[in-house]
């Protein structure tokens, strides 16, 4: 077995993840290299879900009976855990949504319906980047169409970094909001938050950080980021599907209008008018994803017990090894940073002119699960003039042996289509 400094005890960790024992195609053990799409779930998270449903299931916030009090305590307790995980100044700044996409749409809609000074309208500008997941592009396109605000974006350099050379022209006095990803979901690039935040603050623009690919993999400290909003999603960080988070600065959440209306988000309702509960409840209409929040709380506990710094170190080791080994494969071209510096454990590549679909399919026959396509970041593919990439992404349970399996698999793909 390949020894790399910084690796976690994956043998122990993998025992927590039932799916990693799956076999496909007549007994081939799954090599799961698609954690950037969604992570696998440890037993501890599934236990928390079952425990919730079997013993404490009730609707939250409105019951005086024991089980309802328990359910409320579990749900709100999950909020405390998430707040601590991201070092939020206040638990009331943590809003539960269904996924990161809803979180980002929530920000866009709040700003569209806001009063001054936050209001996005036809005299203002919105800034994003060419490196974004569609979920951080389309909400802003919709907002731009609906308000007349101009949408601008940063381009990407040849080696997969944000091109900030024209930052002063892109972010101007007209900019109301700058929304960008902390870590690219297609190239793994880590983006320079500080420089963008500094410029945004200079012109008085708000900053929204899409941390969907960061929260699972590194220490996420919303205070250190100095952003105004931070969005991420539970299913990529060993949590359940159906739960996302939006963190927002308290005074903004107080000032901004609600988005979805309904039960739970109100203070008082009459047919003529309604008033709204304070944040975070103002932004949580209807019965929330209760079990999923509880599951996310358990996920955060799981990650914290291992330690986000240790997870990050593990992934850095794996990434360095994977970059090195992949570059040994003839005709393989990495799309994005071709080193292990300032990047996450997500590596996209092309393999000669073999279409990624074919690469993925032939790898699957060997039990290797990678993702192929545009990875919901089609502008990146357009930028590099390619239809799609093959993407391998690693997580705390990934091993050097799995990197080796991938490299062997790619050799087989090349022979197959030669």
């Amino acid at each position: 077995m390949t020894y790399l400094p910084g690796l976690l005890d994956t043998e122990a960790i993998r025992k927590d993840f039932p799916l990693l024992d799956r076999t496909v195609h007549d007994g081939k053990k799954v090599v799961y290299l698609d954690s950037a799409a969604t992570s696998q779930k440890p037993r501890q998270v599934l236990d928390a879900l079952n425990e919730y449903y079997e013993r404490h299931n009730a609707n939250v916030h409105r019951g005086v009976y024991t089980i309802a009090e328990e359910a409320t305590a579990l749900y709100e307790g999950a909020r405390d855990k998430v707040a601590a995980f991201i070092n939020a100044p206040s638990r009331d700044e943590v809003i539960f949504t269904k996924n990161a996409s809803e979180s980002l749409n929530l920000v866009a809609n709040m700003l569209g319906w806001a009063d001054e000074p936050y209001r996005v309208d036809h005299e203002t500008e919105i800034v994003t980047t060419e490196m974004e997941h569609h979920s951080n592009i389309v909400p802003w396109q919709l907002l731009s169409q609906r308000t007349g605000a101009k949408l601008k974006w940063f381009g990407i350099t040849d080696d997969g970094r944000l091109d900030l050379s024209n930052i002063d022209e892109i972010i101007t006095e007209k900019t109301k909001i700058v929304s960008f990803t902390l870590v690219s979901n297609i190239m793994g690039t880590h983006n320079p938050v500080e420089q963008i935040v500094r410029r945004a603050q200079e012109v008085g623009a708000l900053v929204c950080v899409d941390a969907s690919q960061a929260a699972p993999h590194m220490v996420l400290d919303v205070q250190a980021l100095q952003a105004d909003f931070v969005a991420f999603t539970g299913h990529k960080m060993v949590g359940p599907t159906g739960i996302g988070v939006l963190w927002g600065r308290q005074e903004l959440l107080e000032d901004l209008p609600p988005f979805l209306g309904g039960g739970e988000m109100i203070e008082t309702v009459s047919m003529h008018s309604s008033t709204y509960a304070p944040a975070p409840h103002k932004f949580e209409a209807g019965t929330p994803p209760i079990a999923q929040a509880v599951g996310l709380g358990a996920a955060v506990d799981y990650l914290s017990a291992i330690g986000m710094e240790n997870i990050h170190r593990h992934e850095q080791a794996i990434t360095a090894y994977a970059v090195k080994r992949l570059l040994e494969v003839p005709d393989l071209r990495i799309i994005g940073p071709a080193s292990a510096e300032d990047r996450g454990a997500t590596i996209s590549f092309t393999l000669g002119d073999i279409h990624p679909h074919d690469v993925g399919q032939v790898l699957d026959e060997q039990g290797i699960a990678v993702r192929v396509g545009h990875h919901c970041a089609r502008p990146v593919c357009l930028r590099y003039g390619i239809p799609a990439t093959t993407r391998a992404s690693f997580y705390l349970y990934s091993t050097p042996a799995e990197v080796d399996a991938l490299v062997d698999g790619l050799e087989h793909v090349r022979n197959f289509f030669a």
Binding site: H61, R62, G63, V64, A68, E69, T72, A73, I266, E267, T268, A277
Partner: protein
């Protein structure tokens, strides 16, 4: 949680009804619809009256009655100490065992210790206290007290 003292205050509330005041507030507990309208009257630094009207459960009603008992006639500073002590008790999640010192300050209000175990009811117990705090701030800002 339903101590005899609480039930007594509920059935025979002290100082209920709206009388003259320097400031009036209306507070609502959105989870259950409990409402209170509360007025404070100051005589310099002294609380001359706390009058109130409202609808709500035994806990919120009894708590308003106890508040009236405890605060009327007190100096503002002392009243604030009592309010802080009551708040602390209610936020204790049943972990605070009232001792003699606390009983000295809170008198009948120590009976609410048990309520603190029920998060949904804590708001009921605090409704009138929050209203009082708010009304006092309003009276202060309008310069009604010294």
């Amino acid at each position: 949680m339903y101590q005899e003292v609480i039930l007594d205050h509920y059935k025979h509330p002290h100082g209920r009804g709206l009388r003259d005041g320097d400031a009036e507030v209306h507070h609502v507990n959105p989870t259950c619809g409990d409402e209170i309208t509360l007025r404070v009257r100051y005589d310099g630094e002294t609380i001359a009256d706390v009058s109130y009207e409202g609808q709500g459960c035994s806990i919120s009603q009894a708590s308003a009655s106890v508040l009236n008992d405890l605060l009327v006639g007190k100096e503002l500073g002392e009243a604030q100490k009592i309010q802080a002590a009551f708040l602390e008790l209610m936020q204790s999640k049943g972990q605070l065992e009232p001792d003699d010192a606390m009983e000295e300050v809170l008198e009948d209000a120590v009976a609410f210790a048990g309520v603190s175990k029920y998060p949904a009811r804590v708001k009921c117990a605090l409704l009138s206290w929050m209203a009082w705090k708010d009304a006092t701030a309003q009276a202060l800002s309008e310069g009604k007290t010294a």
